[in-house]
């Protein structure tokens, strides 16, 4: 029972990271109608920036995270402006291939700068741990922080999209780009903002991921990126609460699957669940089938 609880909590923690990454996928998809496959690699860049800030510049962890967020935000906006914006009217496939290209560009640039030798990510947030059941169940500070960060981000994003003018404008663009333009909403600026937010979240996710799984190398972002994308589809791509639920479920399924079924098959299980869900709910758990009223 205690071990189940431990796996479950680890699952929530991993799932929280997936959820934060999935938010980036789902927001960009919702607003720019594209799959930004470079998103996973932005996580990796964020983790490296935080790593450098802490190891070489000796900055405190929080400041390092802030640095990573700033760099990733700029990176996201630049990627969007240089690689995706010129393709706004182009075929979907061209955009998709470009995104994959950007993904490799980021990985290989990281390889050039930081080499392929894995870096050991420093333990960032050592603020103690919670011990339950006479020390049989230890919840690390990373785990707690990851879950708390996830909840805070979720609440902040919900408030942003439901209360602020720019947040509402984002929803408007996501529903009908042309109509949004007719309202006077600058669509390009809105898309930039979406990339900025998504990338800042990626930086946070990168640091959280690497503080729980401290091996950092140029491909660090790709697997979590793909799984988070899966989480976004699982929850219903374009839906913010969907990304949240999808991410959490995926993390829990992965950890429980690895613990009780097979370590090797844990990843495969994640994708198998996705396939099953999509068979019955093609739009994902919270996705709405698109319908139009004439």
């Amino acid at each position: 029972m205690v071990s189940f609880l431990r796996f479950f909590i680890n699952g929530i923690s991993l799932g929280s990271v997936y959820a934060i990454i999935a938010l980036g996928y789902t927001m960009v998809y919702g607003i720019a109608k594209m799959l930004n496959f470079a998103h996973g690699d932005v996580i990796m860049v964020g983790a490296y920036i935080a790593f450098c800030a802490m190891s070489y510049l000796n900055l405190p962890p929080l400041l390092a995270v802030l640095c990573a967020m700033v760099v990733c935000t700029c990176l996201g906006v630049v990627i969007e402006g240089l690689a995706y914006r010129p393709l706004r009217q182009a075929a979907k496939l061209a955009v998709l291939i470009t995104a994959i290209g950007v993904s490799y560009l980021l990985q290989n640039t990281a390889l050039l700068i930081w080499s392929s030798n894995p870096k050991v990510f420093p333990s960032v947030f050592n603020v103690g741990q919670i011990r339950l059941f006479d020390g049989n169940l230890v919840i690390s500070s990373e785990t707690i922080l990851t879950i708390v960060a996830n909840i805070v981000i979720m609440i902040a994003l919900t408030l942003f999209t439901s209360r602020t003018k720019m947040g509402k404008a984002m929803r408007a663009v996501s529903e009908d780009r042309g109509a949004a333009e007719l309202m006077g909403i600058n669509v390009n600026r809105t898309i930039s903002l979406t990339f900025a937010i998504g990338s800042a979240l990626a930086a946070i996710a990168g640091v959280l991921l690497c503080s729980s799984y401290p091996t950092l190398q140029p491909t660090t972002g790709s697997m979590p990126g793909i799984k988070a994308f899966t989480a976004a589809v699982f929850g219903g791509i374009g839906s913010i609460p969907g990304a949240m639920i999808g991410g959490l479920l995926l993390g829990i399924i992965e950890i429980l699957g690895k613990a009780y079924i097979s370590t090797e098959l844990g990843d495969a299980l994640v994708f198998a669940v996705l396939i099953v869900v999509l068979l019955f709910k093609p739009a994902g758990l919270l996705g709405k089938p698109i319908r139009e009223k004439v």
Partner: protein, 241 residues
């Protein structure tokens, strides 16, 4: 009306619009003077909506001039043109289905300072009491007529000098069509200049000052609405004899 000494509010001069290689608009010119109701009528596919989309900045003309309030607006982009005082209530209404009525209206006022929004909301609610009742409802749950009202209210939130309406009667029951046209007349009475695109030529001509008839990308007939209504060719083509 054409003898007005003032420059027209909207002047469209020989615009050509392409969809890829299709030459959809082949040199259209028309004017809308301040205080007028002007209607563009014509069959399906004649280019009426394309014309409005081009004027509003959603599409770019390959050739030609469009000026609004004496300023060229070609290539300015829809989001900047709205702030100049021109609003398009698009074909098919295109309200934001997943946003509430109030949020839709707020989006309509996107270009205006925040402190002016409450008063404008009140104005719209006064004109469309139905929307007030449905304020917190998601727009997708409204009926077709209510959605049309919302689309018009949303366009009014930007305080336009020129309101362009694309097929406001589409898909509505006759009684609602009457209502919508009454509202258009009211808006006109309140000083809004109106450019109206309609399939329902009879209704449009009955409230308009002037009319332009579009046939596959060109203006074929133009003049005072009463004259156009009496024109044999128009009667035969658009008014069922």
């Amino acid at each position: 009306m054409n003898t007005n000494s003032k420059a027209p509010l909207l002047k469209v001069d020989d615009i050509h619009v392409y969809y890829g290689s299709i030459h959809a608009i082949k040199g259209i010119s028309f004017e809308v003077n301040e205080g007028e109701i002007v209607t563009l009528i014509g069959a399906n596919g004649a280019g009426k909506s394309t014309t409005l989309n081009t004027v509003s900045g959603l599409l770019k003309p390959r050739l030609g001039m469009i000026s609004f309030n004496g300023e060229s607006i070609v290539g300015m982009g829809a989001s900047r043109i709205v702030a100049k005082g021109m609003a398009l209530c698009p074909e098919g209404r295109r309200v934001f289905q997943q946003m509430t009525v109030r949020e839709n209206l707020e989006m309509g006022g996107f270009t205006r300072p925040a402190d002016e929004i409450p008063a404008s909301l009140e104005d719209v609610f006064k004109r469309f009491p139905r929307l007030k009742e449905r304020e917190k409802q998601v727009a997708g749950t409204l009926s077709g007529g209510e959605q049309q009202m919302l689309a018009m209210g949303r366009a009014l939130m930007s305080k336009p000098k020129l309101l362009m309406l694309d097929e406001p009667s589409m898909g509505l029951a006759p009684i609602l069509v009457e209502q919508i046209f009454d509202i258009i007349k009211e808006l006109h009475g309140a000083g809004v200049t109106i450019l109206l695109v309609e399939q329902n030529a009879q209704m449009a001509l009955s409230i308009a000052d002037r009319a332009y008839v579009l046939g596959t990308g060109k203006i074929t007939i133009s003049g005072n609405a009463a004259d156009v209504l009496a024109d044999d060719r128009v009667r035969a083509a658009y008014l069922g004899g």
